[in-house]
Structures are given as structure tokens and as C-alpha cells.
């Protein structure tokens, strides 16, 4: 797994698990790989993965069943979407809109671009 430099690795792993839950690769109530399994798969220290799982557990995205391991919460998808929306609105959206303004893209053009994007995304899924 390749990591970016700007975010702690345990959080990048959390994002990746979030992606898998959103895409349906990990299902609600489904089992999450054990700490050691995931650590071996992505070649990262097990304590880092353990930290990822702590973080996801604190945010209610996964939960433990004693002796059985970690499972995806029933409402994990909603929680991930809500927190990503918050994050987007807090920072990245401002930056993105600033870039649009800087290169002179109008709201009408943006609407067309977004519609095109949605059409392509729907066609490929």
C-alpha cells in the first residue's frame, strides 16, 4: 500500500477501510480482517493497524464481538458519509471552489461538468 505524506498512516488505512465499506466490499455486520491479517496484507506494523481499528471503533464504524474479532456496524455507511461530508465542507470544498474561481469557471459551467461526471460515473458502475 502506498501512503501519502500529509496524513498519519493509521488514518489513511481508516480511509481505505471506509472506501471498502462504501463500495460494498465490506458489508454491514460483516467481518473485518484481523489486525494481523490486514497488517500482513498491507505491510504495515500491527500496532498501526490496531490504532486504525481503535479509531474506527471510537467513531462507531466497526465494533468488536468478544473473541470473534471486528465487524462493520449496521449504520457504518451513513456515519462515513456524514463525516466525509463534514470534512469536505470544512476544508477541501473551499480550496476547490477557490481554484474554480481562480481559473474562471462559472457556476453554469460547473453544473455541466458535474452533470457530465455523474453520467460517466453512473455509466461505469
Amino acid at each position: 500500500m502506498n501512503f501519502k505524506d500529509n496524513k498519519a498512516i493509521y488514518l489513511q488505512i481508516a480511509d481505505r477501510i471506509g472506501d471498502q465499506i462504501l463500495s460494498g466490499k465490506l458489508m454491514p455486520e460483516g467481518k473485518v480482517p484481523s489486525v494481523r491479517e490486514l497488517a500482513a496484507e498491507i505491510e504495515v506494523n500491527a500496532n498501526t493497524v490496531a490504532r486504525t481499528y481503535d479509531h474506527l471503533q471510537q467513531n462507531g464504524i466497526i465494533f468488536t464481538k468478544r473473541g470473534l474479532g471486528y465487524f462493520v456496524s449496521a449504520d457504518a455507511k451513513d456515519k462515513i458519509i456524514a463525516s466525509r461530508r463534514d470534512l469536505l465542507m470544512q476544508g477541501e470544498m473551499d480550496y476547490f471552489l477557490g481554484q474554480l474561481k481562480a481559473v474562471g469557471i462559472t457556476p453554469a459551467e460547473l453544473q455541466d461538468l458535474y452533470n457530465d461526471y455523474l453520467n460517466r460515473a453512473n455509466a461505469s458502475s
Binding site: 501512503f3 505524506d5 496524513k7 498519519a8 498512516i9 497488517a39 500482513a40 506494523n45 500491527a46 498501526t48
Partner: protein, 280 residues
């Protein structure tokens, strides 16, 4: 698990002691990265902690037993992969049948799994002496991991490994690690192994300058572009402006840049020591 207590050691009187009153405690369940400049004594320290050298004073204890006594119960639960070594004119299969009995927890199943990770499964009947250095290293490390000893020490394990084997090595460590095991990896190739470590030990001038978990480093230091008003512990110039190691603000978590951490620690040991010994 491995305790080094007040060790003093030097190779000869003229050059003086490499280590004086040196102590370090290594615990089970951790993968330590041992970092130090050339000549800082990393390999010497490894030989002292595996009973290959005798300290002039002090002792290295494994589970309370002095390693220098080289008792069978110690030697069968300890494995060292040195930086350079040669292997006998034997096939992997012969080598395993001769050497595995010294290690009660050796597992042939694990050996096969680790050879597979390194894509060396087809070499089981090949004469090891005729292999390239990189191949020897892979075979020897597969054996080292398969012994399932509590202590596994590797001196520059990624030296001589080709590009795919570096990722394979990380897989080997993350697959072979367990809560009962302690691994110590001495290296200069910090980029190869940063993600698989959970502790970093930096030594210089016979002192442990830093012995901290990555979680601890992340909570105390941030590695990022320098901002106005920062009081950086270390700054390095890059084409995109200065990068700095600074005290992390609460909630600020960045990826640990081992190279910067190492340079910051060597340049400013007192400040780093303060930061890591102070109570939050």
C-alpha cells in the same frame, strides 16, 4: 525481554570505549528500528546482545539470563541475521534438516510460507553456496523467521535485496511478527522499513538518544512544511520550501519521517530528550 544493563565495551584501549554504562530495554511484541551513524556501534551492540562479544562490564539479559553464558535455552530462542554471511555447500532442504533441530519452535510450514513470500520455493534443492547474495539473504531470513525464536535480530536486512524483495521483506516481518516475539532491525535504509516498525531507537556516542514508539513520536512531533512562527527542532531545505520537524499541536498527526527524526535527534539531542521524557 532483552535487557542491556550498564554495558561498557571497547575494541581496544587506544580508541577508547564504544559503549560506557549503556542501557537499553527491549520488550516483546515490538518491532524496533535501530538507527545510528556509521561507526556508532549498531553492529557491536547487536553482537553484545546476542552473546557474541563480552562486555568489559555490565550484562545483556534475555528473560533474566545472561546471554553471554550462551545456554542452550537462550541460543535456541534467539536468532541473528548478520549483515554479511556465507552459506555452506548444501541445498536448502539439507540445511534445514541439519539446523532446524536446534530450534524447538521451528516450523517447516512457516519455512515454506516464507520461501513463497520471497519467491524462492523452487530453490529447495539448489546449492545455497551458488546463490547470489540477495538470494542467500532471502533463504537465510526465511529460515530465521521459521525458527520462531522469541528474539530475532537483523543487521541491515534489506541491503542487497532487489526492488520487489523489499516489499516481500515487509510482508515477511508483518506476517512473522506476534505478541510474544521481539524483532530488532538495524538499518540505514529507513525508507524501506519505516512502516513496519513500532519503535525507534537512535544511538550515538554510546548513548540512547531516543527510544520511543511511533505512537509517541506522532503525538509529540509533526513533520511538515515550515510555517511562520514555528520554533522548529530541525529544518531541511527542499525544492518546495523548507520542511521542519516541530512540536505537534494537539490533534496534529503527520506521517513520521524517520530520516528527519534521525537528523533532528542527532543535531538537537537535548531538545528531543526533553520532549520525550517530559510528562505531557
Amino acid at each position: 525481554m532483552l535487557q542491556i544493563n550498564n554495558i561498557s565495551f571497547g575494541y581496544n584501549k587506544k580508541r577508547g570505549n564504544l559503549f560506557s554504562d549503556f542501557s537499553l530495554n527491549l520488550e516483546a511484541g515490538n518491532v524496533y528500528g535501530l538507527l545510528g551513524k556509521n561507526g556508532a556501534g549498531k553492529s557491536t551492540l547487536i553482537y553484545l546482545m546476542t552473546g557474541l562479544l563480552t562486555p568489559q562490564s555490565g550484562e545483556a539479559l534475555m528473560d533474566g539470563v545472561n546471554v553471554r553464558e550462551r545456554l542452550p535455552k537462550t541460543m535456541s530462542d534467539l536468532f541473528l541475521v548478520p549483515e554479511e554471511f556465507d552459506l555452506p555447500r548444501l541445498s536448502i532442504k539439507q540445511y534445514v534438516s541439519i539446523n532446524a533441530p536446534f530450534y524447538p519452535n521451528f516450523s517447516m510450514e512457516d519455512m515454506q510460507r516464507y520461501l513463497e513470500i520471497f519467491e524462492m520455493s523452487d530453490y529447495i534443492d539448489v546449492n545455497m553456496h551458488s546463490m547470489s547474495m540477495g538470494q542467500k539473504k532471502k533463504v537465510f531470513m526465511a529460515f530465521a523467521f521459521a525458527t520462531n525464536t522469541s528474539v530475532l535480530i537483523m543487521d541491515e536486512p534489506t541491503n542487497g535485496l532487489d526492488i520487489p524483495s523489499k516489499s516481500q521483506f515487509r510482508k515477511l516481518v508483518t506476517t512473522g511478527m506476534s505478541d510474544d516475539r521481539m524483532m530488532l532491525i538495524s538499518t540505514h535504509q529507513v525508507r524501506d522499513i519505516s512502516d513496519i516498525l513500532d519503535h525507534v531507537v537512535i544511538i550515538d556516542n554510546s548513548k540512547v538518544l531516543l527510544n520511543a514508539s511511533f505512537a509517541d513520536v506522532t503525538s509529540k512531533l509533526a513533520f511538515r512544511p515550515l510555517r511562520a512562527g514555528d520554533e522548529p527542532l530541525f529544518v531541511v531545505q527542499s525544492p518546495f520550501g523548507p520542511l521542519a520537524a516541530v512540536r505537534a499541536e494537539s490533534g496534529e498527526e503527520t506521517v513520521v519521517d524517520l530520516e528527519m527524526l534521525f537528523n533532528a535527534t542527532l543535531q538537537n539531542p537535548a531538545a528531543i530528550n526533553n520532549l520525550f521524557t517530559a510528562k505531557n
